[in-house]
């Protein structure tokens, strides 16, 4: 999406209606194509006003026809938009320096990228003297991100999707907090979660951002979705064992559990399917990621 499209989106984001926005990660799309027969996209997405997919993620989605057609079908239930990272600048009202910091903070977990950005993009200059956004974004994408060749011949850029999702979610969070009610990232990728969490930690301390109002960013991981679907009765009790068996693997889950005196315990641990099935029956549990 370029030019006119992004202006329309900006207008839509600024009408002041409390919007529910969902951002999709590639790994979640893959998962959703598997479970499509059990849980229809309508059930999952009709509650959102808008589904956004950054272009760097869209490139990954398009490696599979299944994923691509899944997304194309979503247009029946919600407004679906693919956003070119170049257009992030329009979304932040051309505040190039702020956009630079959003990228920097969303990369903070990867030392090599931080080093690359400071050395090859900032180049020891004040942030006001940065090259135009489109130029440095291109350098960052082409030279900064690690790459590997996929079996289909496409070059995959490591962490591109995670970073793009994190930056987009903070743009929505900080620049459209007045009209966006919820920002939910559909992802099961721990890196995406950690990139967003790390950036939050730094943004809360940064003078440029810390006192601004912002909309919170939440996640729906695959495990979260399964937990939610059993609650809502989308997967019935007879099928749940087979469902988990087919579509879930041992994975680390971050969750809270309410104790008898109503205090809350935090946990973050590796959960096998047998334990996970027990957790699904336990209503004192809240999955975070």
């Amino acid at each position: 999406m370029k030019g006119e499209g992004i202006k329309e989106l900006k207008k839509y984001l600024s009408i002041g209606k409390p919007l529910k926005v969902c951002i999709l990660d590639n790994n979640s799309v893959e998962f959703l194509t598997w479970v499509r027969k059990n849980v229809s996209p309508e059930k999952i997405f009709s509650q959102y006003d808008m589904i956004l997919i950054p272009k760097w993620v869209w490139v990954e989605v398009c490696d599979s026809d299944n994923r691509k057609s899944y997304i194309n079908d979503l247009k029946h239930y919600s407004k679906v938009q693919i956003i070119d990272e170049v257009d992030y600048l329009t979304l932040v009202d051309y505040k190039e320096a702020e956009l630079y910091y959003l990228f920097l903070y969303c990369c903070y977990n990867v030392s090599r990228l931080v080093s690359f950005i400071k050395k090859n993009i900032l180049k020891n200059r004040p942030v006001e003297d940065l090259d135009p956004y489109e130029e440095w974004l291109n350098i960052f994408y082409e030279e900064g991100l690690d790459q590997r060749k996929l079996s289909n011949g496409r070059i995959q850029k490591k962490n591109a999707g995670e970073i793009s999702i994190a930056v987009l979610s903070y743009i929505l969070s900080y620049y459209y907090s007045g009209s966006i009610d919820t920002i939910t990232i559909f992802s099961s990728d721990r890196d995406t979660y950690e990139f967003v969490s790390k950036a939050k930690e730094i943004l809360y301390k940064d003078e440029r951002f810390k006192d601004r109002s912002n909309t919170s960013i939440t996640f729906k991981s695959n495990d979260f979705l399964i937990y939610e679907w059993t609650r809502l009765g989308y997967i019935n009790e007879d099928n749940i064992d087979a469902f988990v068996d087919n579509y879930r693997q041992t994975r680390r889950i971050k969750f809270t559990r309410k104790k008898q005196d109503n205090s809350i315990e935090e946990q973050d641990k590796l959960i096998e399917n047998t334990v996970f099935l027990e957790m699904l029956k336990d209503s004192t549990i809240h999955l975070i990621f």
Binding site: N109, V110, R112, K158, K205, R252
Partner: protein, 264 residues
């Protein structure tokens, strides 16, 4: 480090030391009580072991004027020591940085306090280092029966593992403030600005271990490797820890390659 001490400002340095002496002696006592619980006796080992607990980074840097620093990042303070400098300097710098790490109010309050006299602050760090390193160097100096002044100073360097100028400053202070030893005072002023440039050979000639006046070229990145390894183990499904580990190894290799050039 503080402004360059020369024979011209040596007297002023001693005057400054007088002002801070009580304070610094209190700190050296405090340090021993708080940080030397295991009774480590080698002062060189003690300073490094304390710094290592604070993620000391040791890297060789091709700059003879850069001994070390405390790098602050938010609330984190990381000591760095240049291992391309002779070991005697490293030992002294280690104590100097310990002062900054634990007792420098400038660093402790995070915000830079401009009311502090930077020169005096650096003098305090140097004086703290001297007081941690030296015992009674004046007596030791006179216990040596060498004829030659420089040979005696070198032997002091050897036993206290201290740099040339640090030995002279300490001797000078004793000579001036305690013993009114004009003869020694003259000798120090005469030699102060002419550090022998062949210290390694001089150590060998005196049958001393010359390693002390050579660089160690140690490369150590503050225990980061171990730390990353352990988070990788705890978080197998997070890929960025592995990336960071690779990046660290690349950096380390790069530094080691650079060292080969330095060490020749």
């Amino acid at each position: 480090m503080s402004e360059l001490v020369t024979s011209k400002n040596l007297e002023q340095v001693i005057e400054k030391n007088k002002l801070i002496k009580d304070d610094i002696l209190r700190l050296t006592n405090d340090f021993t009580v708080r940080f030397n619980k295991s009774g480590v006796t080698g002062q060189d080992k003690l300073s490094f072991s304390v710094l290592k607990e604070n993620h000391l980074i040791q890297i060789p840097i091709d700059d003879e004027y850069w001994g070390g620093a405390i790098i602050t990042k938010g609330s984190i303070k990381i000591p760095v020591i240049n291992t391309a400098q002779p070991r005697v300097y490293q030992y002294f710098v280690a104590w100097h940085e310990i002062y900054h790490l634990f007792y420098d109010l400038n660093l402790r309050e995070e915000t830079h306090n401009i009311a502090v006299d930077m020169d005096l602050n650096e003098r305090r760090a140097d004086y703290f280092a001297a007081k941690m390193i030296f015992g009674n160097v004046y007596d030791y100096y006179y216990s040596l029966d060498d004829e030659n002044f420089i040979d005696k100073v070198i032997k002091c360097m050897d036993v206290y593992k201290a740099p040339y100028k640090a030995v002279l400053i300490e001797l000078f202070e004793e000579a001036v403030t305690k013993y009114n030893d004009l003869d020694l005072k003259e000798k120090i002023l005469e030699h102060f600005d002419n550090k022998p440039d062949d210290l390694v050979q001089k150590f060998i000639d005196l049958e001393l271990d010359a390693e002390l006046v050579k660089p160690s070229y140690v490369v150590s990145l503050g225990g980061l490797e171990k730390k990353i390894q352990s988070v990788i183990k705890e978080n197998p499904d997070v890929s960025h820890h592995k990336d960071n580990y690779q990046f660290l190894l690349t950096l380390k290799n790069k530094i080691k390659k650079g060292v080969e050039g330095l060490a020749k």
